[in-house]
Every structure is written in C-alpha cells, then in structure tokens.
Amino acid sequence: MGDLTVTKSAFKKRITNEPSILTALQQAQEVYGYITPDAVAVVADVFEVSQSRVYSTATFYHQFTFAPRGKHVISVCMGTACYVLGAQEILNAIEDELGIKAGGVTTDGLFSIEHNTRCVGDCASAPIVIIGERWFNKTNTTKMLAVIRKIKKDEQEGAQ
C-alpha cells in the first residue's frame, strides 16, 4: 500500500534522475500505490511533456492503476500455461471469496485483485498466484483460499 503523505517535491526529487517516463511512473506506483493526479503532474513537469502524454503512456500499461489498491494485491497469472492449468477457476474462487471482481478493491481496503495479469514468466511452475511479494507456485483453489483466509485472520488479530 502506498504512502500518500509523500510530498510532490519529495517525489520530484526521487524521479529527477529517472531515464524515462515509464520508470518514473513505476516509481509513482511504488511510492503512492497507484498513479495519482499529482504524480502525473510531477512526471510531466520533470520530463517537460504534457500531462495528457504522461497519462496516455500510463494507461497503455496494465502494470499501472489509477485508484488506490488494497493492502494485499492479488495477481492471478492468466498466461497460457497458467490458464490451461485452471487459473480462471482460481480467479473465480478468489473473486467469490472476497466479493469483488478483478480490478476491484474490498471495502475494508485489505485486498485488491489485479485486472488482466499477463504471463509472469515462470510457466514451469504454473499456475501461479502472487500476493504482494509472495509467489505461490503450482497452486490450486483450495490452497489459495486457505492463504487468503489466513491473511484475513492475521489482519483481524493484528487490528485488535
């Protein structure tokens, strides 16, 4: 989850030496958790292009999101190998479990499911689900639902 308290000037300093708009946008995604209007304005400023150009670039790539994501971001790989090994069923089960569709965020802000995750490049271990930084290889519906319920439980206990 991003940190929205990072100021525009701090973000500007951070991306001043970025070689391209794309890497600067990746920084924005990392810092704020999603592409904010302010981030677009700063990137446009640093690279001396219009905000429309920066926004257009960002919307081309699926890796960028334009609304806050959940604390735990779930990506279900939809590459060919994962797909034929049942990725769609895993995704459907996760959607049902969380009550949201891919691209959405749960109301408590804990989970979000990425829209359209393309091949993540580890087809030998298909199907793959990524939650945050954790990779789950050769997984299945039962395993994934158990992982998600565990995270939910941990979060609830942490909150108390």
């Binding site: 219009s50 429309s52 150009r53 920066v54 926004y55 257009s56 081309f60 699926h62």
Partner: protein
C-alpha cells in the same frame, strides 16, 4: 520513373519520395484513405488504402510505401477491393451511424469511402454502449463513438501546435482519444485552435458553443424570425474564399457576392464586412506600435499581435510574463461588436439590446473570445452575441434550400460594409503585419511608399521575417517584423526573443498554420488526398488577388474609418477608442 497501375504504364514526374497513394492521385487513380494527410506525415493507421504490389505476398498501405521504378501496382483487384471493404466494414462496426443528422454528412471521408465500396455497415455490428463524455463547457466536442482512431488530431496537436493535449488513452479496442484523466478539454492547456477539428476525417471532433443549450443555430433561427430583434452579421476576411467549397466549388473561389446574397436570403437584417473592423484594428495597433516602439520597460521589446484568440489562449497560459507585450487592441471581431452596439445602434436609433450581433468565422475558438471575461466594452451588453462557423453556415444555407452556386452577387450594406484590401488580407498569415506596415509607414510616419506589397511576408512558411527600411527605431536600426503561424513556430520565436538570439519589433502570430485561411472551422474539402495547406494556399492566393485589384488598399484611406473616427471615436488610441477598442489580458491557469 515508370510505374504500372492496374495494367497501364505511367510516367511519374518528380517521383523521388512519392508514395504510392500520392503517385496514384497524380494520375487520377483514386485510392480511399482516411488517416493520410499531406501535412501530417505518415500514420498508416486506417488501412483503407491497401493495395497489391507485385512481388509482395501481403497487401500494403499505399500511404506508407514509396514508388520504385517498374513497380506494378493493383488498386482494384478482387483481393484489394474485398480487403478494403472489410477494413471499412470493421471501422463501421462500432461507429455511431446517425449519418442523416451528422454535421459531416456531406463531407465525411468514412461515409464517402464506404459508399464507394458499397459496404454493409451492419456486417460486423455488435451491441455496443455508446460512450458519453461530459464536456458541456468545451468549445470542441469530442464524440468517441465516431472516432476511427486515425490519430490525425493527436499528431497535429503534438507537431504543429505542440500543446499536445490530445492523446490516445487506454489500449486496444477500448482505447479512445482524450485528455489527461479523460476530463474536459478545459481542464488541460488546450488553446481551442481547432486544428484537430480541421483534420478529423469524421465528426468525432466538432466545433461547439460551450453552453448547455445544444443547438445554438436553432436560437439563431428564432432570432431571425423575431421582428423585434435586429439581426446583423459580419463576415470574416477568409470566409469569402472558402464557403463556396461547401457547395462543390474549387478551393479558393471568391464567392463574396454570392455569400452576401445567401445571407440576405437567410433573413439577416444587415450584412456587414468584418474587414472594416480589421481596418480599425490596424489604425489602433499601428498607433500603439509606434507609441510603444522605443518605450518598452521590460527585457522583451516586442509587440505581439492580439487578433488570434488561439494565440491569446496560448500566451496567457504558457507565457504570462509576455502579457505586457501583447497588443491591447481588440481583434476585429470584438471591435466590430463594440462599434455595432454603440456607433451603429445610435445611427439607426435602435436599443443596443435589440441588436443581435452574429459573426461568420473560419475559427473554432472565436466563440470563446466572444465569451471572454472583460472583453465587452460595457459589461451589461454582449458585444458579440453569437459566432457561426463557416461549416455551420454551409449547413444553414443548404437547409434553407438556397441554390448557392447560382446566386447573383450581392453588396454589403451601409454604413459598415466598405473596407480596404489591407483589412481583407487579415485572412491569411502575414496579412496583419503587411496591412499594419502600410498604415504605419505612410499614415503615422508620413513616408510615401512606392511598393506596398511585402512579399517577404507572404507564403506558407511558418516563420517569415521582413526588414523594413522605411522605418527605424531610436537606435537607427531597421524595424524587424516577424510573421508566425502555428504554435510550434510561435514557441520557437518566443524562445529566440527571450534568449536574446533574435530581436523583432513586431511579431504577428496566428495559431493555425497558414493563418485563418486554414482555420479549424473551414470546410472539410472533398479531395482524393486531404491537404489542408493546399487549400489554404489557394484561398490566400485569391485573397492577395482581391487586394491587388482593390482601389482601396490602405486602412487609413478607408472613408468609413475616417468618418467613424471623426463623428464618433475621436483619435486612434484616444480616450473613447481606448474604452471601446482596447482590452486587457489576464494570465490563465494551465491545468484546472
């Protein structure tokens, strides 16, 4: 170079670098094309121009391949015709097919190509929810449902105008042309020059009135029908050499007389010539130029013209530090409005509020100028009530069943119908400067000039410079005047001036490349290849010819100008002239 097209040999002259599309157009072989425009370079996005070339296994877009000696091209083989039809049917599959009420119905390139190819518009049709974009405050209306994603608007915005506010958002089938965050154009630094409208092959981009009232032309018809309202119209310089194109006439045909008759038939009470107000602009700007010439306080010692609203939008947003250097003289449109609601109202003894002032304009953003805060001489009365574009007027004339081509020549009405050739050449790039120099040199400085034609300032080059030997500044240097059209060129000149690399005493800027003759709301031309510059060239040629054969070629010699100064305004730049004919400029925010 010899090529073979559809079984016939042709010798192509000046062939180096010519594309198959251009070479075929030269020999009268029509290949439909939607995205190609001579002025924008290669896009190759629509694929409607695919042809067969012997030795290549695939079909190739004619716009993207240069001809070579001995090339054998087929533009009408069954394979080509079938592919072309499919391409067009795919473009039609998600197109909003309300052709009958569409503003571009008579000059839509997609419609024309699909008709010729006898397309089945419903072949690939699918249920699609049409997108609506909230843009009630915009002067340019975007309709994504009619967009074929050719990319011309994006390119002209980025290259010729470099404001770069239009871009492709999203990816694949869901992508649309829009601005940052898919908001209104007013939220980004759009200068509403309208070049995107001029380059749109369909009605995906149109001029709009920035009001909730959808149909302002309906309001105009009601005003004309209302006996109590005195509806007057003034026609911009460049409209008379372009409006005929809407009725199938060649680009650049002078139809001034027919246009006046058509407007009379539409029911306007008086038809006036905006060139007269251009003469006033010259008088005011000329005196302003001389009075400021040696008295600049800031670093920049240049006077920029103020008649182009697109340019004013640009400079007040991007270079607010240059505001003291922009002429305070109003544009001809606003000068005319101010005089109509004061001098003319007095003269014919009608309450200003009962006068409905309409402007006929080649421009998308003149309506934004009419609505600009603080532009009206009297805050309670709007000087210009409505701006009607050339495209809109063509539709009105057709709707009224007027046979434009066969009309007799009419004459402008008194007392505001007489104008000079200097006022007329305002319609093309360089015209304002040339007209100003005629008056400044002769009238204000009292030097007789033998040659009043400044050929350095003519033509379609983006930046033109004249050294005026008859006129010197206090250091004894010749006056240097620059004429710029297209915002990319304007930015270059501004950078040159700011860096001290160049010094100009006077800079004329027109936002549209080529000036008003290439305005955003000029008729879309029915041509094999879209060539906005070519049309602009024909139109400006006619304008210079008309000036040459005009007995009255200097603004200060116009008897009506003299009369209105004597009877009403007093002196140029005097107190009353300042109240009515000058304005102030304020900085604008880039992003809202």
């Amino acid at each position: 170079m010899k090529i073979n097209v559809n079984g016939n040999e042709y010798e192509i002259k000046g062939a180096s670098g010519k594309t198959v599309l251009e070479a075929c157009a030269d020999i009268g072989v029509n290949i439909p094309n939607l995205c190609y425009s001579k002025n924008l370079g290669l896009l190759s996005s629509c694929r409607a121009c695919v042809v067969e070339i012997e030795g290549r296994w695939n079909l190739v877009p004619a716009c993207g391949v240069n001809i070579a000696d001995g090339m054998i091209i087929k533009t009408n083989s069954p394979r080509v015709l079938d592919a072309r039809k499919t391409v067009l049917e795919l473009l039609l599959s998600d197109h909003e097919l309300d052709c009958l009420k569409c503003s571009r119905t008579s000059d839509c390139r997609l419609k024309k190509a699909s008709e010729d190819a006898q397309c089945d518009a419903k072949r690939f049709a699918r249920d699609k929810e049409f997108v609506t974009v909230d843009q009630k405050n915009d002067y340019i209306r975007r309709n994504p449902n009619k967009c074929i994603m050719c990319g011309r608007c994006v390119k002209v915005c980025a290259i010729h105008q470099q404001v770069d506010v239009l871009a492709v958002n999203g990816r694949g089938f869901e992508s649309t042309v829009g601005v940052a965050w898919d908001k209104e154009l007013g939220s980004v630094p759009c200068i509403t020059c309208g070049q995107c409208v001029a380059n749109c092959p369909t009605a995906a981009l149109e001029e709009a009135q920035a009001t909730n009232r959808h149909d302002h032309l309906q309001l105009l018809k009601e005003k004309i029908a209302d006996d109590k309202t005195h509806v007057i119209i003034a026609t911009a310089p460049s409209t008379r050499v372009a409006i005929g194109e809407g009725f199938g006439m060649k680009s650049g045909t002078n139809v001034q007389g027919k246009m006046v008759t058509a407007l009379k038939k539409l029911g306007f009470d008086r038809i006036f010539d905006l060139n007269l107000a251009a003469d006033f602009t010259i008088m005011e700007e000329g005196v302003e130029f001389i009075s400021k010439l040696d008295n600049w306080e800031g670093e920049v010692k240049t006077l920029f013209t103020s008649c182009c609203p697109g340019w004013i939008n640009y400079v007040t947003m991007m270079h607010p530090d240059l505001i003291p250097n922009i002429s305070t003289t109003k544009s001809p449109q606003q000068i005319f409005g101010a005089l109509a609601k004061t001098y003319y109202a007095d003269k014919i003894d009608i309450e200003p509020k009962n006068i409905f002032m309409v402007m006929l304009m080649p421009c998308v953003t003149k309506s934004s100028e009419a609505n600009r805060k603080g532009i009206d001489a009297n805050s309670r009365i709007k000087d210009v009530d409505m701006v009607v574009t050339v495209r809109e007027m063509i539709r009105l004339i057709k709707e009224s069943g007027i046979d434009f081509k066969n009309l007799d020549d009419g004459k402008y009405d008194d007392p505001m119908g007489l104008s000079s050739g200097a006022g007329l050449i305002f319609g093309t790039t360089g015209g304002v400067t040339e007209a100003a120099l005629r008056t400044v040199c002769e009238h204000i400085m009292g030097k007789k000039m033998e040659n009043i034609e400044f050929h350095d300032l003519r033509g379609e080059k983006g930046i033109k410079v004249a050294n005026v030997r008859d006129l010197k500044d206090k250091n004894g240097n010749n006056i240097r005047a620059a004429v710029v059209s297209g915002i990319t060129n304007a930015e270059r000149v501004i950078q040159d001036i700011k860096s001290g690399y160049e010094h100009y005493h006077y800079v004329e800027v027109m936002a549209c490349p080529g000036g008003c003759v290439n305005g955003g709301a000029m008729p879309a031309h029915d041509a094999i290849i879209q060539d906005n510059f070519g049309n602009a060239r024909n139109r400006s040629k006619t304008i210079y010819n008309m000036d040459q054969y005009n007995n009255l070629r200097r603004s200060h010699e116009n008897p009506v100008v003299k009369q209105i100064y004597d009877e009403f305004l007093g002196k140029p730049n005097g107190k009353k002239a300042h109240e009515l004919l000058h304005t102030t400029h304020t900085p604008r925010k880039k992003y809202n």
